[in-house]
């Protein structure tokens, strides 16, 4: 008996050794590098996260695959696409077609890594594994749009429905041959979101027009920042103002495979350094806990720079004790007009559901009734000139977290003024690395020259084809 138990144990241990070997065998084809296992591990975890064990999709179902990096678009679909049925956290149903959400966070580029690998295999994939819809952000839209992996709106037959959209939202997803290859439901013109309490205390008024006068250009804004510092407030983080500068550049980041530092980016570096040294701005990374402290009155932060999605996505309005919860924010245009973020819907070439994809894009980004619902229910600034005009002139556009202010007139004016002729497909890497490298300069760990060298080095690491 004892012997039998021993033998059984030996067999089990042997099995335990061989099973992981077999299980891993299938995914080792990319192991060309010693670091590849880490990458594989990352891939498998995201796959596991995206496909829970209990699937509600029957084996013979027809599947529509949507790739995204967060829940935002999914919640919009669930709430606003007619006939959409929610089955589980990652699955839904439209008519007879099952919808599968493949959500991978953007951190460490995981979303794009996953998307790239899947897109490159798109041609050979089975119909139910093919990507049908994927989402992109403006920073890297050209990376996908300027290839054959995305379908043009003309091929989907919906390019004629987009007249009411803002021009800049189309510029971002237009490829080098002039084809429109994506569409967005958001117009992300942005401005300055300020703490009304602080404005009253330091500037004497919290009226948007008065605050705007105090931050009308970078010199005035710096003066205000000094006043804020004297009163114990921090203006904002250097990373908050970054995009306002980077949207108003005079040339592209990369010209003839050379990295070009625009004069306006240099102005950001110099202005920010002066304000950090004066204690008026801090160097907190966006989205971190330190950066988020200003969402409560105790954080003593005067403003954030952000577009409309910032209102309902980043200010924690449903949490007790936040400024947003008490309706304590105000909104004005800020020193320069700019946009930030936004999500574009692209149709993947090779999709087996072109008609459904076309209808989804058309409904979610051009249907005025749907767009108005999105604006009023989710506080999104939608990509429709007429809906925004309507909201600007009615009480429906008033926002509780802004103390009842209606920001749509400013948002609409901002969206008209955005010029995106200086976009390049390297923007994401350049923007991230410049902010990262300059942090060392602002905090006094490096000189400006050293930090700039570190910036060039980091960009070339990301894009080995570029040079200084």
């Amino acid at each position: 008996m004892k012997n039998l138990a021993r033998k059984a144990l030996a067999v089990m241990m042997a099995a335990a050794m061989t099973v992981p070997m077999v299980a891993c065998g299938g995914s080792t084809e990319t192991a060309t590098d010693t670091a590849a296992p880490a990458e594989e591990a990352a891939e498998t975890t995201t796959e596991e996260a995206a496909a829970p064990a209990e699937s509600t999709i029957p084996a013979d179902a027809h599947i529509l695959n949507i790739y995204a990096w967060n829940e935002e678009y999914k919640s919009r679909m669930e709430a606003h696409y007619p006939g959409y049925e929610t089955l589980s956290a990652t699955e839904g149903k439209i008519g007879d077609t099952y919808v599968k959400w493949n959500i991978t966070p953007s951190d460490d580029n995981a979303y794009q890594n996953n998307l790239d690998e899947t897109l490159l295999k798109q041609a050979d994939a089975a119909d139910n594994d093919k990507i049908d819809i994927f989402l992109v952000e403006a920073d890297y839209a050209l990376k996908y749009v300027d290839t054959d992996y995305t379908m043009s709106m003309a091929d989907l037959g919906i390019d004629g429905d987009m007249a009411d959209q803002y021009e800049y939202t189309k510029q971002i997803v237009t490829d080098s041959n002039g084809n429109l290859k994506g569409s967005s439901w958001q117009a992300c013109s942005a401005g300055l979101i300020y703490n009304r309490e602080a404005a009253k205390e330091v500037l004497g008024s919290d009226d948007p027009a008065d605050v705007q006068a105090a931050v009308a250009n970078w010199d005035k804004s710096a003066e205000t920042a000094q006043k804020m510092a004297a009163a114990g407030y921090t203006m904002c983080s250097v990373n908050d103002t970054y995009r306002t500068y980077s949207n108003n550049v005079s040339g592209k980041w990369v010209q003839d495979d050379k990295i070009v530092l625009d004069p306006n980016m240099e102005k950001w570096i110099d202005d920010s350094k002066a304000l950090v040294d004066a204690g008026a701005e801090d160097t907190d990374d966006l989205w971190g806990d330190d950066w988020a402290k200003g969402k409560t009155p105790e954080g003593k932060v005067f403003c954030y720079f952000g577009p409309a999605w910032f209102f309902n996505f980043c200010l924690d309005a449903d949490k007790e004790g936040t400024i947003a919860n008490q309706g304590g924010w105000g909104f004005c245009e800020g020193p320069q007009s700019y946009y930030w973020g936004g999500t574009w819907i692209c149709a993947a070439t090779g999709t087996d559901d072109a008609d459904l994809v076309a209808d989804i894009i058309k409904t979610m980004t051009t249907d005025k009734a749907v767009l108005k619902d999105i604006a009023t229910q989710d506080q999104d600034c939608v990509n429709s000139k007429s809906v925004l005009a309507e909201l600007a002139g009615s009480d429906e556009g008033n926002m509780a977290l802004l103390g009842g202010q209606n920001p749509y007139a400013q948002l609409a004016a901002g969206a008209e003024g955005i010029d995106l002729s200086n976009l390049s497909s390297y923007d994401q890497g350049c923007n991230e690395e410049l902010q990262g490298a300059m942090k060392n300069y602002f905090e006094g760990n490096q000189t400006k020259e050293e930090a700039l060298d570190a910036f060039y080095k980091a960009v070339i690491e990301k894009y080995p084809n570029l040079s200084k």
Partner: protein, 303 residues
Amino acid sequence: MKKQSKVVQYNKWGYIFLLPFMIVYIVFQLIPLISTIYNSFFENYRVGLQQIGPNFIGIQNYVQLFSTPDIWQYLANTMIMWIMGFIPQILVSLLLGAWFTNPSLRLKGQQFFKTVIYLPNLIMASAFAMLFFTLFSNEGPINSMLVGAGFFAENYKWLSHTLSARSLVALMNFLMWFGNTTILLMSGMLGIDPSLYEAAEVDGASSTQIFYKITLPLLRPILIYVMITSLIGGLQMFDVPQILTNGTGDPARTTMTLIMYLNKHLYSKNFGLGGALSVFLFVVTAILSILVFRINNATEKKN
């Protein structure tokens, strides 16, 4: 005749039992190692969705790698952070090991403490780093405690200063590994013949003398083993500083380790340059291991 065939049969079983290890080793170690070396001679990366190469470029990747002093700085960072963690680790482990194995101390609750000191190693390094990141953030609990107690006038930016950032990495590595080292050293100490201790006591040696004259010399093989494994582990340091600094290796890349640098090249799937860096790391590890072995052998022969 019969006898001989029996020997052959036993040999066969020996090979069969070795087989799982050999297969795992060849598939997961040897083949990747060779293909890494092979890949390091190619230009092979991706820009956006566009694949560049693979084109054979000889030793160009190595030339590029060594054309700047960066790689030496990252190697130095790695070694500095390893040493900063290893010294307290080995000292504390020796002390704890000596206490735990000393029968005359009659320590109570040994099992409990042995378990507790090993526990940090069971937490995932990334989770541990996230915890420290939160604890030591500018508005974090450590800062509020220190400011509240009057040690600092204002919040200290732990991760913006080279010394404090490196110290945090070293502290985490120390906390995670000293339990493991203690267990290893204890097993080595328990293997020492108790009659030696008894003889020393009879001769009137003090406990300090016993530790330095008996325990330490006889512990040498285990100490060397601990040192080599820790050194190789230290050279591959990645998860703790990666998570703690969000992959930047800041301030000014003074906490950037070699593997973090390798990870930077994965953004562009730069297998050529990444391969060259991996080969460099392999050579450094091999040299250091041989060096430690040699020193060990030389002193053993002298004795």
